[in-house]
């Protein structure tokens, strides 16, 4: 943080020097800033949104990071490493070996074991059931001295006696059970009734869970009770998981830094047994960091449209300020003020605005982040999936956001101040128009350099299919050609052609190079949006004359219309800046709204793809699974395809890194039932051919399309032909496989990688339990009713049954909510546009006061004056929204219809949503113009003429 503040101080130091040591410049800067407090306030309000968006994005990232870290505290506590044994015997041997671990790095070793179970309570009354609970065997006395902070284990009191248990708050809440109550635990085919001694928090060893679920529904029993239960295990069901947990010295998070060293020590101590050792805490923290960064980047990337719009507003305001003060600036130069002093005074005024705007913006950003987190919480909370968010603001992020917002604003202001200071004194004093800029050779040289650089970049990117180079290389060539072509052809025509070429290239790049779109980062789409918007606005601005004459033909007689259009058409630069603000924000809003709509449209098709021939998905406890024959005989069932899921490790070819990912094995019954559709079936003629090949060939696998994606933007995309090694993490058994096909995303079913049962059995042995199934129903059977009945019937097996259509709908609903969250966030950017048009109009009324006075003197009715301002605002807003919306739809069309980047999504235009969005934007812009337009109507001609003369 101190580095960040140092940067801010360095950037601020020239201005602080001026304020402290240069009284004349200070007076000019401070008095000009305070001259019109209300307008200064508007400038600050218009400028603060950039900082607010940056801060809001950082707060969301902080919250995600902290929430996952919180999950690490809740589910691991002091546990830094887990040593996983293959059997109870091996487990006991490992415990003995680990007593010798060096105490300088380790402050606790505790054995624990678990298996999945179903639980019920309230027998005789209203039966309450929790199918997905877990029995944990733990010696509480050992747990109390595990790690340096006892409370972090979540365990208190003595080890429950035989017939007794402690349960976690999550399970107690679900079963409406407290101390003294009785709980039925179904494990390995038999129920056990236990008395609840106490309820423990979801923390540390008590909250131990590796399921990835938010809640930990644990039944904690003594090791002897656990062993007795485990001893009953019949053949064909999953054995318990045997762990030895190790706590490193240091705090809950800081201890993870010793993981490498401790892992080495554990491996040495257990040599010969060679169990799997997992630095589980470090993995949690890595995921937290990665997810936090991903969310920050995602929100920042989308928010960057709003930030750019804010910068354009700042530039526009300074152009207007400079124009208004042109004669004052000329006089200042005339009486001896140096150009550098003029820059100093002007930039210091801007520094005051920037400082206040960034401070306020950072504070507003924290509030914005709070709203985003609250909204995200509902998006992350569906019936079958929940992730609790803990609102967090890190001082470092706050400092970083402030500095980024501040430095960007100050840099913009300094550049504008330098530009403003380049004035001709006489022309400035007499308010005479500046002549057209001279053609300078240096621009020609810069143009040649840009063309050469752009061409090189294009060639290099074409070879590697690198998306940024493919987009920006040719764009750089077009930009570089501008100073060249405008010398040999009519400037407007040449510039228009280049602007059109930029838009066309931006729109077509992914259609021409579809491979480059796959896996492209979100920043790629940001760059694409900015390039296309810049090109589109430049083209429209250059061709405004044609629009002007068309509108004149249409409404030349309507003087308010003529006047309303005259100003934006005459001041193209300013108009272009304001139009760009709208176009940028509307581009990304249209993009997100349309994608969301297209994905929503996929629900029916996605349900059919995920279902295959099944209508119901069933899963049960691996320690007590529903028997397939019982399931098959259930009334209403037409067919059953059993699936077995195991936690596997995957290592990509040429990479030593292993990644835990679920793996589901299937057999021929799935082929008979009708397997789910494939997203990419590679070289196979039909999907069924691919499923059949993978089943018969253990060297092939069907990949999960979400493989190695953390829920953020895809930075890795698995493809047909990719090679990897599938590993049983417990035994180390492995096999090299090739991706034969890529499955369709199955959302909440979460099968993971799909593998043929014979191959899977070789690797995973008796841990491969058929605890999940696809079920097809006889015609006329309602899937949801059947699922509810099945769940009741096989309650002791921990059965959960779902209508696949309802699960798909739930997954789509979550996606839809996340898109809504983005839309709400991006709508913040619209505020920049709307605030911008209000500020621009207020300043326009001031700037045109004399002209309004003249018009009124000539007989222009007051309400026409107001109407002309409304027309001007509507024209700018309409132009910006149309350019943004059309370019976004064009971009989406090329991405969706002409490349594979969006999978099977079909291009569609959400006419109603877009009409509301675009209409709302124009109406809001008009509403923002009401106040300045009304003030313009109130201008008295004699007063306006008298004041200005």
């Amino acid at each position: 943080m101190s580095a960040m503040l140092l940067i801010a101080l360095l950037v601020a130091s020239p201005f602080l020097f001026i304020l402290a040591r240069r009284p004349i410049l200070r007076r000019l800067a401070v008095r000009n800033a305070a001259r019109r407090p209300r307008e200064a306030m508007l400038v600050i309000l218009g400028s603060l949104l950039g900082a607010a968006i940056i801060t809001g994005s950082a707060v969301v990232g902080d919250t995600m990071d902290a929430s996952i870290r919180q999950a690490a505290r809740q589910h691991l506590g002091p546990i830094d490493e887990l040593v996983v044994a293959r059997s109870a015997g091996e487990w006991r041997s490992i415990q003995g070996r680990l007593r010798a671990l060096p105490t300088s790095s380790v402050d606790g070793v505790v054995p624990l074991a678990s298996f999945a179970t179903a639980t019920t309570a309230g027998a005789g009354g209203a039966l309450r059931t929790v199918p997905n609970a877990q029995v944990v065997g733990l010696d509480f006395d050992a747990a109390h001295v595990f790690g340096s902070a006892g409370a972090a284990t979540g365990v208190f009191g003595p080890t429950p006696a035989p017939g007794h248990a402690a349960i976690t708050t999550d399970l107690a809440r679900a079963l409406e059970l407290g101390p003294g109550g009785e709980i039925d635990v179904y494990a390995y085919g038999r129920p056990s009734t236990l008395t609840v001694d106490r309820v423990l928090p979801r923390v540390g060893l008590a909250g131990f869970s590796l399921t990835g679920q938010q809640e930990a529904r644990n039944v904690l029993v003594s090791p002897s009770v656990f062993s007795a239960m485990a001893h009953r295990r019949p053949a064909g069901v999953a054995p318990p998981s045997w762990y030895v947990a190790v706590s490193n010295r240091g705090g809950i998070e800081s201890g993870a830094s010793l993981s490498k060293e401790v892992t080495r020590s554990i491996e040495q101590a257990t040599a010969g047994i060679d169990p799997q050792v997992t630095d589980v805490k470090q993995q949690f923290l890595d995921v937290a960091d990665e997810t936090g960064k991903t969310f920050t980047q995602m929100f920042t990337a989308m928010g960057s449209f709003g930030v750019f719009a804010g910068l354009l507003l700042l530039i526009n305001l300074f152009v207007m300020l400079a124009s208004e003060r042109k004669s004052e600036l000329g006089m200042a130069r005339a009486v001896g003020m140096r150009r550098s002093q003029l820059v100093g005074a002007f930039a210091t005024e801007g520094f005051i605005y920037a400082l206040l705007a960034t401070l306020l913006g950072t504070a507003v950003g924290v509030g914005l982040g709070r709203v985003l987190v609250a909204w995200s919480q509902s998006a992350f909370s569906s019936e079958h999936n929940r992730f609790d968010l803990y609102f967090t603001v890190k001082p470092d992020s706050l400092a970083q956001s402030f500095v980024v917002g501040f430095v960007v604003a100050v840099a913009t202001i300094v550049v504008m101040s330098i530009r403003v200071s380049r004035l001709n004194i006489i022309r400035a004093i007499r308010d005479i128009a500046e002549p057209p800029p001279r053609r300078r050779k240096r621009w020609l040289y810069a143009g040649f350099a840009a063309v050469a650089l752009g061409a090189l970049w294009t060639v290099s990117a074409t070879a590697s299919k690198e998306p940024f180079g493919l987009l920006l290389g040719p764009t750089l060539v077009f930009v570089g050609l501008a100073p060249v072509l405008t010398r040999i052809a009519p400037a407007r025509t040449a510039a228009s052609v280049l602007a059109a070429a930029t838009v066309t290239w931006g729109a077509l790049v992914f259609a021409l190079f579809p491979d480059s779109a796959e896996g492209a980062s979100i920043m790629m789409y940001v760059a694409q949006g900015i390039v296309m918007t810049a090109g589109g606005v430049a083209f429209a601005t250059l061709q405004l004359d044609r629009l002007s004459s068309a509108l004149h033909r249409f409404g030349g007689r309507v003087l308010a219309l003529r006047l309303g259009l005259a100003y934006p058409l005459a001041r193209r630069g300013r108009t272009g800046l304001t139009v760009s603000m709208y176009a940028l924000v509307v581009f990304i809003l249209t993009f997100i709204t349309s994608i969301s709509f297209m994905i929503d449209n996929q629900v029916s098709a996605a349900t059919a793809d995920v279902s295959g021939g099944a209508q119901v998905f069933v899963r049960s406890s691996a320690a007590n699974p529903v028997s397939i024959s019982a399931l098959t005989q259930t009334p209403g069932v037409d067919g059953v395809a059993p699936l077995s899921q195991a936690q596997a490790s995957f290592a990509l070819a040429n990479s030593p890194e292993e990644h835990f990912w679920p793996m589901t094995a299937y057999d021929s019954s799935l082929l008979q039932l009708g397997p789910p559709a494939l997203e990419d079936r590679g070289f196979y003629r039909t999907d069924l051919d691919a499923w059949t090949s993978v089943l018969s060939d253990p060297n092939l696998i069907i990949a999960d399309p979400m493989f190695l994606q953390q829920g953020g933007p895809p930075n890795f995309s698995v493809k047909v032909g990719d090679r990897m090694t599938i590993i049983n993490p417990l035994t180390g058994a492995s096999r090299d496989v090739a991706v034969a096909a890529v499955a369709t995303g199955d959302g909440l079913i979460a099968n993971g990688m799909l593998y043929g049962r014979p191959g899977a059995h070789q690797l995973f042995g008796d841990r491969l339990v058929p605890s999940r199934s696809y079920v097809s129903l006889v015609p006329g059977m309602n899937a949801e009713t059947f699922a509810a009945n099945l769940q009741s019937e096989f309650i002791t097996n921990g059965t959960e049954a779902f209508s696949i259509a309802a699960l798909t709908d739930e997954a789509f609903s979550m996606t839809h909510q996340i898109f809504q969250l983005f839309q709400g966030y991006l709508a913040m950017g619209l505020l920049v546009g709307i605030a911008g048009i209000a500020v621009v109009m207020i300043r326009a009324v001031r700037e045109r006061r004399r002209q309004i006075g003249t018009l009124r003197a000539l007989g222009f009715p007051a309400h026409w004056v107001g109407r002309s301002f409304a027309i001007e605002a509507a024209y700018i807003a309409l132009q910006g929204t149309l350019i943004g919306a059309l370019l976004a739809l064009l971009t989406l069309y090329t991405i969706v219809a002409r490349s594979d980047a969006m999978g099977d999504v079909t291009f569609a235009v959400p006419y109603v949503q877009l009409a509301v969005l675009l209409g709302g934007t124009v109406v809001a812009s008009l509403a923002a113009t009401i106040a300045p337009a009304m003030s313009a109507t109130r201008i008295k001609p004699a007063v306006a003429l008298r004041m200005t003369s």
Binding site: A570, L855, A857, G859, F860, A862, K940, A942, L945, S949
Partner: protein, 244 residues
């Protein structure tokens, strides 16, 4: 009241207020201007010349008295009616030209015609004719910033004349021009007056005032002298001014 009067001002009083302070800018001004007269209003800076013009033209409100233009009490009209009246019956020329910068010369001149209800094609023809008359036939499509000061003022004169107003108000029309350009503008106003146009002109410049039929001198918000002029007049006006 003179039956031929186009403008009658009776007891017009104007007070400027700023917080607790107030300044009486016009002390009960009485003035009758017959149709077709060229009236020059002179006086030192701050004497109330421009206020007089603004008040009797209806651009500004008055605190007491009344102003009749063609028998119509303009301050009793609503803002809308007074605006319409200005568009149809009056033309204005200002020291600072006050052209609309985003309109071309033609568009500036056709503005009052359109405001008065003319058809667009008629307004365009009339605007071009008027600009040709003031010697700007070659500058029809130029914007104000592309014209010299004299040319801008001639556009302003054309704008004031295009609607064929009954009365033209000119506030220091030559104040921003060099002597050659000023002479051209005044000659133009002289021509228009010769055609029967009523002109009320505020000026500091005796050379300009010498072209008028009548000289009114204002001091401290009071009309201190009102006399008819006959050519050759410039020396007489200079003497009047120096005495005043």
């Amino acid at each position: 009241m003179n039956d031929n009067a186009i403008l009658v001002s009776e007891g017009v009083r104007k007070i400027y207020r700023s917080g607790a302070d107030s300044i009486v800018a016009l002390h009960g001004l009485d003035l009758v201007v017959p149709q077709g007269q060229f009236v020059a209003v002179m006086g030192p800076s701050g004497s109330g010349k421009t206020t007089l013009l603004n008040c009797v033209s209806g651009l500004d409100e008055i605190d007491a008295g009344r102003v009749l233009v063609d028998g119509l009490s303009i301050h009793e009209l609503s803002d809308k009616e007074r605006t319409r009246h200005r568009a149809k019956e009056m033309g204005f020329i200002f020291q600072a030209f006050n052209l609309i910068p985003v309109f071309t010369a033609t568009e500036n001149v056709e503005l009052p015609l359109l405001l008065a209800g003319a058809r667009e094609t008629d307004a365009r023809v009339r605007a071009r004719e008027t600009l040709e008359r003031v010697g700007l036939g070659h500058r029809l499509d130029r914007r104000p910033m592309e014209l010299s000061g004299g040319e801008q003022q001639r556009v302003a004169v054309a704008r004031a004349l295009a609607g064929e107003p009954r009365i033209v108000w000119a506030d220091e029309p030559t104040g921003n021009l060099d002597s050659e350009m000023a002479a051209a503008v005044i000659a133009l106003l002289g021509e228009l007056h010769a055609e029967g146009l009523t002109i009320i002109l505020v000026t500091h410049d005796p050379t300009v005032a010498a072209h008028a039929d009548r000289l009114i001198t204002v001091r401290d918000g009071r009309l201190v002298e009102d006399k008819l002029l006959s050519p050759p007049l410039e020396k007489e006006v200079r003497e009047e001014v120096s005495v005043a």
